[in-house]
């Protein structure tokens, strides 16, 4: 669009996404937010786990079929696939894979985190894909890479058990306890998705310069081990082995999580400088411990960290975490209430920066999902719709993008090679839908 200075950087690009769970789906969401048209090619015969989770309230509804509308009810559908178009194809059916290849021929980018053997078996490995589209930017994000000769090539790995493998679980917890692990979130999946995004953008830059396509082999394992560089060097050069150290960081003392008023309420405090220590003492009302000479310098505070933790805990426990954090920040001390999932909506930054968004979709009328941290203020990212129904866009995408005739698509559906949305007339509502205007600022226009 000549003269338009807010055009998003990926407008006009098409993405073929062959994905499950988080790694490739998160990458696809980033691409979409910045302007790409993303086709999630999926099948009700083997649904993405993000769809299988469904929703607790939907379990008791007799009108919601388990292999039907259920697959659209999970909050992860909008979290992972908001804005994408869902194309229902059975890639193991000869006509299904043929249609997929026609769609791929119209795409600039392919991203996948299917296991490498599975992609190869479908005939969509890079050597096959480049025959269809020579300038394709092809980014594979499997657990252990695409090289069949390597030891873990066929190993089973999902985010929750990649984290222990790459060392993250061992590094999580208090030194006097067994590792508590990263049980709830899966950093390796997102590390792969973000490295995958960077790989796609590098491939596009390469294509702009040379006209050539690109193949990227993005093992989740290697992309996450790469974040441990300093500790790998330390072990190699000195034999020292970094292990878990609770909430402490070198050079910052005291640093930790301290009890606040209420049941299971906590405040995180990082005293990152001597000035911050002085400020903390003033906020605490200058108790005797705040003025002790042995705590004046960072090294002294680090040497007496356990004692300081006890002293601070006696003080913080009297106060509301949020109020105390505000007072500490006012004085220049990094601190924050340890937010639980109920407190997130009320967080002033989350609200003011509109992290949560409500956008229209077919199954619910409207749905809620989280934002994107890549904030380009000149060409702001944008996601126009919430998550798609499984196979919602099969006909429109195969006709408008892949250039098939409507009768052709109809025949595919009859043959079981393609699918359209299931229970298309069933419109649902989230249990909290009517409270949305109170919960999320500025949702007008998203009804």
């Amino acid at each position: 669009m000549p003269g338009d200075n807010t055009a998003r950087p990926l407008e006009g690009l098409r993405v073929f996404e062959l994905s499950i769970a988080i790694a490739a789906p998160s990458c696809g969401r980033y691409l979409l937010h910045h302007g790409a048209d993303v086709f999630k090619v999926e099948s009700p015969k083997n649904p993405d786990v993000a769809r299988l989770f469904g929703s607790a309230w939907a379990r008791d509804r007799e009108d919601i079929e388990l292999m039907g509308a259920w697959l659209d009810t999970g909050p992860y559908v909008s979290e992972m696939s908001a804005g994408k178009r869902s194309v229902g194809l059975d890639l193991k059916h000869p006509d299904g894979i043929a249609a997929a290849r026609r769609l791929l021929a119209q795409c600039d980018i392919l991203i996948t985190n299917y296991s490498a053997p599975a992609v190869k078996a479908l005939g969509l490995g890079y050597e096959d894909a480049r025959q269809i589209r020579p300038d394709l930017v092809y980014v594979a994000l499997p657990g252990f890479g695409t090289d069949a000769g390597k030891p873990y090539y066929e190993y089973l790995s999902w985010g929750p058990n990649q984290a222990p493998l790459v060392g993250l679980d061992e590094l999580t917890g208090y030194p006097d306890q067994e590792p508590s692990g990263v049980a709830t979130v899966a950093p390796p999946d997102y590390s792969a998705g973000l490295h995958g995004l960077i790989a796609v953008l590098a491939g596009l830059a390469h294509r702009d310069r040379t006209g050539e396509g690109t193949f990227v082999d993005g093992s989740q394992y290697e992309a996450t081990v790469a974040l441990l560089g300093p500790f790998l060097l330390d072990y190699q050069l000195t034999g020292r082995l970094q292990t878990r150290m609770g909430n402490r960081q070198p050079g910052s003392a005291p640093e930790g999580v301290y009890p606040a008023r209420g049941d299971d309420r906590w405040i995180a405090i990082s005293v990152t400088s001597d000035d911050a220590w002085g400020a903390l003492g003033r906020v605490a009302g200058n108790p005797p411990w705040a003025g002790e000479a042995r705590f004046a310098a960072a090294a002294g505070r680090a040497a007496h960290h356990d004692e300081l933790d006890d002293l601070l805990s006696g003080w913080t426990a009297e106060y509301s975490a949020d109020d105390l954090a505000a007072r500490l920040q006012e004085a220049g001390v990094p601190a924050y209430a340890v937010l639980d999932n109920e407190a997130l909506f009320a967080d002033p930054q989350v609200r003011d920066r509109r992290w949560y968004q409500v956008r229209p979709n077919t199954r619910f009328g409207r749905d809620l999902f989280g934002g994107n941290p890549q904030r380009l203020t000149g060409t702001p990212g944008h996601t126009a719709t919430a998550g798609p129904e499984l196979a919602e866009h099969t006909v429109s995408v195969l006709c408008e993008v892949a250039g098939m005739a409507p009768e052709e698509v109809e025949n595919l559906v009859k043959a079981g090679a393609a699918f359209t949305a299931m229970q298309p007339d069933l419109v649902l509502q989230r249990p909290y839908d009517r409270y949305l205007p109170v919960l999320v600022p500025n949702i007008e226009g998203a009804s």
Partner: protein
């Protein structure tokens, strides 16, 4: 073959929340100029240190994340230094900094062609934009800290030493810079833009499990569960001869293989009964299933369990230490570690490219000595 960012000049004024990202930009071909004050970058004072080496060249954080960058010393607190820095910025395509919001507004506005990335704890807007942060504070503000750890201990940072919130911010910064460069190339006047990265949001973005949409939908207040999950068994960390292993057994085929393994090792065949195929049934009888899972795991080392479990088709992984990674057979087979040399630190093996491409883009020089490139750049 040189990387696709060749010809792109990046001025790096930022600390840890962007350092991994500017290293990636360098690995992909950008000319990254690390501007350091006379005392050296803050990363040079972050341990672990190599004790035999004098500061400021002894930090292994800098030895790793400084790779591919050129070091220029400028005392930009002084007027002359400030003039030199502004001169340097006028030649740049990209500036990356992590100062408080507003610090560089004047310089940024004077260089509209520059893609300007600001990485801060809470972003450039909002009532708490001036609040200070840390890795710990970022996790606290995202909802993740609250659910990490054992139920009767205080919340604990995910992989604290790795400072993951900073690494996530750095990844988002690198990606955003590349997006903004693409937007600039398409812009009729070649205008850059401000990129606004908030560490809080970088953590929120990886944690839908603890986010508002999930909570509103099921109204489950998520708590700390320790190192096992209650949705089924075996799921989580289990002790073995030399540490722990991680199981994630949900699918029926994986469970059948697990039940067979229990029988093979202990002789107990009760778990082969059909009633245990149900995920919910194994959640109800979790203590029993966990007990017999441990009867297997305690017989073996984590490497034995990893290899034998995977051979049997069970998603099991070792809880690796950094020492285990250093001798991991897969990383060795893919030549993940590459030899490099450093005038102060000596020769060592460095972690290689985080992904592989068919053009051979990835290339990184060793981390620079303080001010090594001051003369040639200025």
């Amino acid at each position: 073959m040189s990387g696709p960012l060749q010809g792109t000049r990046v001025i790096d004024l930022a600390g840890l929340p962007a350092a991994y990202g500017t290293m990636l930009l360098a690995g992909l071909g950008a000319d990254v100029v690390k501007v350091e004050p006379p005392a050296g970058d803050s990363l040079r004072r972050l341990p672990p240190f190599l004790d035999a080496v004098e500061p400021p060249e002894n930090s292994l954080w800098f030895a790793y994340l400084g790779q591919g960058k050129r070091s220029v010393v400028i005392d930009y607190e002084q007027a002359e230094g400030r003039r030199r820095l502004e001169q340097l910025i006028s030649t740049a395509d990209v500036v990356v900094e992590s100062s408080a919001p507003g610090t560089w507004d004047g310089v940024r506005q004077g260089n509209p062609q520059v893609v300007w990335a600001s990485v801060t704890p809470f972003g450039q807007t909002g009532p708490r934009r001036s609040w200070q942060g840390s890795n710990l504070v970022a996790w606290a503000s995202s909802g993740v800290l609250y659910v990490t750890g054992f139920p009767h201990s205080p919340p604990v940072t995910p992989a604290g030493p790795v400072q993951l919130a900073c690494q996530l911010a750095a990844l988002n910064t690198a990606a955003s810079v590349m997006l903004a460069l693409r937007a600039r190339a398409a812009h009729p006047e070649g205008k850059g833009q401000l990129v606004d990265i908030s560490m809080q949001e970088c953590c929120l973005a990886i944690s839908p499990e603890t986010g508002a949409p999930l909570f509103l939908d099921d109204l489950v207040h998520r708590n700390r569960l320790g190192n096992r999950r209650d949705v089924s068994s075996p799921f989580g960390l289990y002790p073995c001869k030399d540490g722990h292993v991680s199981f994630l057994v949900l699918q029926p085929a994986h469970w059948l293989a697990m039940a067979t393994w229990i029988q093979d090792v202990t002789g107990n065949d009760i778990f082969l009964e059909e009633t245990f195929y149900d995920i919910a049934m194994r959640a109800q009888t979790k203590d029993l299933v966990d007990e017999w899972t441990e009867a297997v795991t305690k017989e073996f080392t984590k490497l034995e369990l990893f290899q034998e479990g995977q051979r049997r088709g069970i998603p099991v992984t070792p809880v690796n230490t950094v020492a285990d990674l250093a001798v991991d057979p897969h990383l060795e087979a893919v030549s993940f570690f590459e030899p490099t040399d450093h005038p102060k630190l000596g020769p060592f093996l460095r972690p290689g490219a985080p992904f592989r491409d068919n053009h051979g883009w990835w290339s990184l020089s060793r981390a620079p000595l303080l001010g090594e490139h001051t003369a040639e750049v200025l």
